[in-house]
Symmetry: C2
DNA sequence: CCATTTCTGTATCGATCGACACATAACCAT
DNA sequence: ATGGTTATGTGTCGATCGATACAGAAATGG
């Protein structure tokens, strides 16, 4: 863009990250413009000039979340020699990522936007797409496993991927509820015993 | 109470049920007093006279939910000869109860109040207690199973009950997301393969 | 009948919501 | 310097939020 006119007095990404953390913790409706302005350190007109609206800001915050928070965790799925190892690594990564930490709120932002209060339709649609991508990532890994012979061809791939998505979502809810990493690890361990062929 | 004064022009329980269904579907913040008055068929002052406040009405709605919606499903846990059968019946009951039906919204009201937007502290505390009761019901059934020798004494009861709670919560999220009963049944089937000793 | 009590509808309260008008300040090109 | 362009802060907009004041209506007890 043109470097013309008065330059912006704040860093856009820094402000966006502050908005993401606030939205993540409090949700959409419960986060007011006033809250956002305080957290981002800017005034209302600056926010509107830079992001358009509260709703547009939320959508950008989700995008930022998917871009920065998701990959370090979901990359685990591709690691490990087998799909089983990948899923296990992913589960462990969740137990570390989902509880509230010094830097981030508890739970999964893309999940929290699905449940609870009714949200603007545009947001619901976008976060739903994100959740479908999670399901797709799981299914894709399982399909590869079947193709490689790690799992029998009769495996219910859709059901199994949906099952692990369920476990993830349940863990996210419990994390939001204050569950400790140790408690989540017990859930992950139980979930791994559902791997086909184990006993 | 005294039968003195002008009698109430509406049935309290009927109005409460209407409020519950609306809160269940839309959440707390997204449900306005105006919405409630429309759904309950009464005016704002009547609502305040009968229920006190929006927050008090929500608390009564949760109580009503726990009293009327919960038991038909959770009673399944006690049915069946073994804990395994009880859990399986419970999972199946969820797959039928969680999706949106003609009469009820999707998901679990007590769960939805945990996630998403920030809710009033009193409500958070009450619904958290409800979720702890769910966990307690599962754990209690598993303890009985260990006592009866259905499960080895080394069973991680806390982890296993938390695991099945996770599955339930994940199923509730996916139900809210529009998952079909068939898709939820696949999740339930996968979850049952995690039963200790199966394989 | 009247007095008392309780419920109901209209109309509205102050607070807060998201969003913006406006004037001013800070930068670039010329 | 000067005009063009964009960002900033103050102040405020209409709408909506949850919650009531008030007066009239409907019941009971005398």
């Amino acid at each position: 863009m043109a470097a013309i006119g008065r330059p912006r007095g704040f860093d856009r990404d820094t402000a966006l990250e502050a908005a993401m953390l606030l939205f993540w913790r409090k949700g959409f409706a419960a986060t007011s413009m006033s809250d956002l302005c305080d957290a981002m350190g800017i005034s209302s007109p600056s926010l509107y000039a830079a992001f358009g609206s509260k709703e547009a800001l939320y959508l950008e915050a989700v995008e930022y979340y998917v871009r920065t928070i998701g990959p370090p965790v979901w990359d685990k799925l591709a690691e490990g020699a087998t799909a089983r190892a990948g899923i296990e690594k992913l589960l462990i990564a969740w137990t570390e990522s989902l509880p509230k930490s010094r830097a981030t709120p508890a739970g999964c932002m893309a999940l929290l936007a699905a449940v609870g209060d009714e949200w603007p339709a545009t947001i619901v649609r976008v976060v739903k797409k994100v959740r479908l991508e999670m399901l797709g990532a799981l299914r894709s890994r399982l399909e590869t496993a079947v193709a490689k012979g790690e799992l029998p061809a009769s495996t219910d791939i859709d059901g199994l991927s949906r099952f692990y998505l369920s476990v993830f979502q349940g863990m996210a809810v419990q994390a939001k509820d204050g569950a400790t990493p140790a408690e989540l690890r017990a859930v992950a361990a139980a979930a791994m015993t559902a791997w086909p062929g184990d006993g």
